[in-house]
């Protein structure tokens, strides 16, 4: 069975893929669906969902369209999730690869560094970084990347350490290839699958982190995001539950979709492990 066939037989993974495709489509089409943007006040505040035409999810405390907020909020979630994950990979993959491949003092140093970052409570560090650098899209993405790379480094290190003991790597040494070429063209390509699986799960975690920061008021003040919507509605939860409910549901579904895809990829990459339905 090919990789994609295995992936397609996994019901959860397909559901996840459909969900994610929908979220991506909504994010891309946001300016078309609600060209007025999410900030415009369109009606009186606290309109209950499903009661007013054109405002399916009601209005918020300032009379803004909740549906427009949700649609535009998808953009920042996906963007921050994706970019911060790429940045985290750019830090974690080289560090882990060098540590695992060269071992010795390189490994020792890299791992102490990684361990240090892993000891720091990552959400607290993200808060501190964003608070000090001032909340902008860039600082939020950077902060999330800085707190997310250690697991990547550990994973890549472990993979590389086990791969470098394989005999085909010995053979590459005997072929007279340089260390860096062996690492890049012989070792790392064989570590790609677990990295992809981890990356898909990291995007999910990054979306959660971004929304949590925004919830605490550490979001970019110029950009509508799901976490901000929930945070702004927190104090009126007793009177206007829908203001917190729908953005939260959007986060949940997006994160769920990514997790399902991650698991589907993992199962498809490791067919021999799937039989027992591992999580």
């Amino acid at each position: 069975m090919t990789f994609w066939k295995r992936f397609a037989t996994n019901r959860g993974a397909v559901i996840g893929l459909v969900l994610l495709a929908a979220v991506i489509a909504i994010a891309l089409l946001a300016p078309v669906i609600y060209p007025g943007g999410p900030w415009k006040m369109v009606q009186r505040p606290f309109l209950v969902p499903f009661t007013t035409d054109g405002l399916p999810l009601g209005t918020d405390t300032l009379g803004r369209n909740v549906a427009a907020g949700l649609v535009h909020g998808a953009r920042v979630s996906l963007l921050v999730g994706l970019v911060s994950t790429v940045m985290a990979l750019l830090i974690g993959v080289p560090l882990g690869a060098l540590a695992g491949f060269y071992g010795g003092y390189v490994d020792e140093g890299a791992m102490r560094f990684t361990e240090f970052f892993q000891t720091i409570p990552n959400f607290a560090l993200a808060i501190v970084l964003v608070a000090i650098l001032q909340p902008t899209l860039g600082s939020i993405t950077l902060a999330i990347a800085i707190v997310s790379w250690p697991p990547v480094a550990r994973l890549v290190r472990a993979e590389v350490m086990s791969l470098k003991r394989r005999e085909f790597v010995d053979a590459a040494h005997l072929a007279g290839l340089s260390n860096i070429r062996i690492l890049v063209s012989e070792v790392l390509p064989n570590a790609v699958s677990p990295i992809i699986v981890m990356a898909s799960l990291m995007v999910a975690t990054a979306i959660l982190l971004e929304s949590s920061l925004s919830f605490l008021g550490l979001g970019d003040p110029n950009i509508m995001s799901w976490g901000y919507m929930i945070g702004a509605a927190r104090t009126v939860i007793r009177s206007a539950w829908w203001l917190s409910f729908f953005p939260g549901l959007a986060i949940l579904l997006t994160v769920l979709a990514l997790n399902l895809i991650g698991e589907g990829l993992n199962d498809a990459f490791n067919p021999h492990l799937t039989k027992k339905g591992r999580t």
Partner: protein, 541 residues
């Protein structure tokens, strides 16, 4: 030995849908008599273990008994409920497995794991269980029993763990002991000890033993009767001596022929010019160590001096931990020796810096042990074979042409070049590995356990290929192996290694027939079926 204690009748075991064949075992019938040792022999995938697992109710998920009966003491055990099977397991049928390193619970003390057998069958008081565990540990010949029962598995060697396993299997004096390749993972001297132990215990307790193995040497050593299996069917059955001496089925004959026997080759005329000179080579491994404790030192290679002549095949034999692999890897500089010289074609490989080394790498190439790990799964065969020559400066087109040529020479055909490793079997991959080594035009090839992972029939084919290439190309080979029979078949001279030192070096004939050192004698005596394999006619050949 007439009345069967176990009688298996027309047993068929079904594999799950999508497997490479419908049945793991098909229409298998045999009897096991009280006190006899029955060897079930076959290559991997022959279904030899499945029969035993079915009997124990330990079949893997998805594998089920299709038809047939297994009558033990008057009852068909196959359809029994799980609870009744539990009552049989351990108590009346004991079992030991291949991998002693993983077959024991790493978090439980040995004594507790033995005592657990009594607990499982609700026998004896707690103190009585402990006393019996101690007695069993003594019986299977483990040293310092008081200490052993309090030890954890990681504190024991492989052979000791297998003894502990045997103690567990024998705890309740079962009528049948099933041994599934119990010595395959062990060194040859340890293997000999375990085989002796099983024979002695059979003598004492009179249990029947169903011994599953791939090794006819082991068969010759302990079997009363033999069953030969292939593709899930029995192809031949009979008394051990009959099957070994006058095999009836062509497959059995092929298997027996494939075994590297002790037939010792005539002395080769060897040129004086050396292909490899190793001078006073040393390699020490330091493990552990830290702020609180000193490092542990292991002299993996201890002052080794050795020469291989051009066109010679030198066998380097030793048990695990003898340092033979480290020596091989030091020669190709996958391991950097602490001191000493490795001279190949006038160049001291041990002294080169990284850059110079890369340029001289082509002089020595290696054929590896594990056919499944020695080829990059993401590269086509062509790339695996031509990366080295291209790095060395051979034009790409020429390297590719040569790669196709070599694939043809090793018997795979030039078409193999565009395929990926997973499309090949283990034996085929080993041929690719040989082609890859040849592609570099090396002055010396190191074959590190190059046939150990293969089934005997495949092993024979690869050995024949090596012998053929050697004749045609005049290769010089350092042939590292733990298997003396293989060494005897392909080598001109043999070097025996123990604890990092060379114990004895000499022409095969001399080392085999007039070993000078006690360790060499011990090693030769431990070869399973030694007396049978090095038959009188072979000695005089």
């Amino acid at each position: 030995m007439s009345d069967p204690i176990l009688s298996i009748d027309a047993l068929t075991i079904d594999l799950p849908a999508g497997a490479d064949r419908p049945h793991a075992v098909e229409d298998v019938s045999f009897d096991l008599s009280k006190g006899e040792i029955l060897c079930v022999v076959g290559e991997s995938g022959s279904g030899k273990s499945m029969t035993a697992n079915a009997l124990m109710g330990l079949l893997p998920d998805g594998v089920t008994v299709g038809r047939g009966r297994a009558v033990f003491d008057g009852t068909d055990v196959l359809p029994l409920s799980e609870v009744r099977k539990q009552a049989l397991r351990g108590a009346r049928i004991g079992m030991i497995f291949q991998e002693p390193m993983t077959a024991l619970n790493p978090l439980m003390r040995i004594g507790d794991q033995i005592a657990e057998v009594f607990a499982a069958h609700k026998l004896h008081s707690k103190s009585e269980r402990r006393a019996r565990a101690l007695a069993l540990v003594k019986e299977v010949g483990l040293p310092d029993p008081e200490k052993i029962i309090r030890a954890y598995p990681f504190q024991l060697s492989g052979g000791q763990r297998q003894r502990a396993m045997i103690a567990m299997a024998l705890a309740l004096e079962p009528e049948i002991l099933i041994a599934d390749e119990p010595t395959t993972a062990l060194d040859v001297t340890t293997q000999a000890q375990i085989l002796r132990l099983i024979l002695a215990l059979r003598e004492k307790h009179g249990m029947a033993v169903m011994f599953i193995t791939h090794d006819f040497g082991v068969v010759a050593e302990i079997a009363d009767r033999v069953i030969v299996m292939r593709h899930g069917r029995i192809v031949e059955a009979g008394l051990a001596q009959q099957v070994l001496e006058t095999p009836q089925h062509s497959y059995t004959r092929a298997l027996l022929d494939a075994i590297p026997t002790g037939r010792v080759p005539d002395l080769q005329v060897i040129t004086a010019a050396p292909a490899l000179e190793i001078r006073n080579l040393n390699k020490i491994y330091r493990t552990g160590g830290g702020v609180f404790r000193p490092a542990r030192e292991v002299r993996a290679v201890n002052d080794v001096t050795l020469t291989i002549a051009k066109g010679e095949v030198l066998g380097l034999v030793g048990e695990s931990g003898s340092g033979k692999s480290t020596l091989g890897r030091a020669v190709v500089r996958l391991v950097t020796p602490d001191s000493g010289q490795v001279l190949v074609g006038g160049v001291d490989l041990a002294a080169l810096d990284a850059k110079a080394l890369r340029q001289q790498r082509h002089r020595v190439q290696m054929v590896f042990q594990d056919p499944y790990a020695s080829l990059n799964p993401r590269h086509r065969i062509l790339r695996s074979l031509s990366d080295g020559p291209i790095a060395k400066g051979v034009p790409k087109r020429q390297a590719h042409t040569r790669a196709r040529e070599l694939l043809d020479i090793v018997g795979l055909g030039a078409d193999a070049a565009t395929r990926f490793p997973h499309e090949f079997s283990g034996g085929q991959r080993q041929r690719i590995g040989i082609a890859r080594a040849l592609a570099m035009d090396p002055e010396l090839i190191i074959a590190d356990e190059a046939v150990s992972a293969l089934d005997v029939s495949i092993q024979a084919q690869v050995l024949a290929l090596l012998a053929d290439l050697r004749r045609k190309m005049g290769l010089s080979i350092l042939f590292i192996t733990h298997d003396l029979r293989v060494a005897a078949q392909v080598c001109d001279r043999i070097a025996v290694m123990q604890y990092g030192r060379l114990v004895e070096v000499g022409p095969v004939r001399e080392v085999f027939h007039a070993p000078q050192q006690p360790y060499t004698r011990e090693l030769l005596a431990a070869v399973p079926g030694a007396g049978w394999a090095v038959a009188p006619e072979a000695v005089s050949a």
